[in-house]
């Protein structure tokens, strides 16, 4: 078993890469089903911890697969799992952007751009709600979020200051 863990990691995560429509979050339940219930690479408790870590850490939360790969197959396992979840979908995106760049300025392309702008705007606004729902911390979360949005829109302050400020506010009022 041990010697083909690498192949198994690829076999699990490559298809998931191509199924992750709508973002990496979409396949989290499927990852859970396969690696905990199916392959038994990690325990339920480990999965829950990995999930929490990947959300807590900055960057894409799909990096949960790095942790799973590492726990299942060591350093190389972690690297392979990461490669498997990112590469296939990236190749697709690359193909799209190449075609797109070749037709710069075409009328259909302006239409696609203008037609997609409100779609993206709606998605950004919707993801604010999703993030607010998922965040722990009670009423302080929307309060701090709205305040930091307000500051960002009026001042040219680096968002990093706000991140630090948010942490301090939570410590002072809830710590």
């Amino acid at each position: 078993m041990r010697d083909n863990i690498y192949l198994s990691l690829l076999a699990v995560f490559v298809p998931l890469s191509l199924l992750s429509v709508g973002g990496g979050q979409a396949v989290i339940p499927e990852i859970h089903r396969q690696v905990v219930l199916g392959q038994g690479w990690i325990t339920e408790a480990q999965f829950v911890a990995d999930y929490a870590i990947s959300r807590m850490s900055p960057g894409p939360s799909s990096l949960i697969v790095t942790l799973i790969g590492y726990q299942a197959g060591g350093l190389l396992g972690g690297l392979l799992a990461t490669l498997a979840i990112f590469l296939p979908s990236s190749l697709l995106m690359y193909a799209l952007v190449r075609v797109w760049s070749r037709h710069r300025g075409a009328r259909w392309q302006r239409a696609v751009e203008n037609g997609l702008a409100p779609v993206a705007a709606g998605l950004i606004l919707a993801s604010c709600v999703t993030l607010l729902r998922a965040a722990a911390g009670g009423w302080m979360v929307p309060a701090v979020a709205v305040a930091s949005a307000g500051i960002l829109m009026t001042d040219k302050v680096s968002p990093l200051w706000l991140i630090g400020g948010g942490a301090v506010v939570f410590l002072v009022f809830q710590g």
Partner: protein
């Protein structure tokens, strides 16, 4: 906001890697898209807002982690294959180191409630960044009826009805694009 024009000179692969890497290790709270937009559109002005939004919508409709797809989108524009590769690596590798680091200190982090609070606060502020971007692009789309309706439909379908994003985008986007095309023909 003044009209966007391409940066001169264009950033090379290394600059892209560093810029995306910086976003990757500082963007707490899951609102990476907001961070990328703030950094790439507002601060560095490497990509125009319309262009970014088109890339974002396509990233959502295709499989893959949205922010990696967006990095490829922006990177390719700046200089083809290698720029796309380095932009994508920038948003993957440094955060990979971070997630590993966090897994090492996870037990320590969860032992104390103050560290949890601090992270929750960082996440809340980070959602604010996303919110500011949403309000900014939202306002632009309120100027005309069709985009305003499209935006509202997407918002309700995803945020309130909680329908799958792919389904919503695949149904609404073609209609929105068709209407935009009709408008192009009419204006021509």
């Amino acid at each position: 906001m003044p009209e966007w024009s391409p940066p001169e000179p264009k950033p090379g692969p290394l600059a892209l890697f560093l810029a995306f890497g910086r976003i990757g290790v500082t963007a707490f709270g899951g609102g990476l898209t907001g961070w990328i937009m703030q950094d790439m559109v507002r601060k560095r002005r490497w990509v125009g807002e319309e262009d970014f939004l088109a890339g974002l919508a396509m990233s959502q409709a295709l499989p893959g982690v949205n922010v990696v797809n967006i990095a490829i989108w922006i990177g390719y524009r700046m200089g083809g294959l290698w720029s796309a590769v380095f932009a994508a690596l920038g948003i993957i590798l440094p955060p990979m180191a971070m997630v590993t680091l966090f897994s090492l200190i996870y037990e320590w982090l969860t032992r104390y409630s103050w560290s949890q609070r601090a992270i929750e606060g960082a996440v809340a502020a980070s959602i604010g960044l996303m919110l500011s971007m949403g309000v900014k692009v939202g306002r632009r789309n309120l100027r005309r009826v069709v985009p305003a309706v499209v935006m509202a439909v997407i918002f309700v379908a995803v945020a309130i009805l909680k329908l799958p994003i792919m389904l919503v985008v695949l149904v609404v986007a073609p209609i929105s694009v068709a209407l935009a095309y009709r408008r192009e023909l009419r204006d021509a």
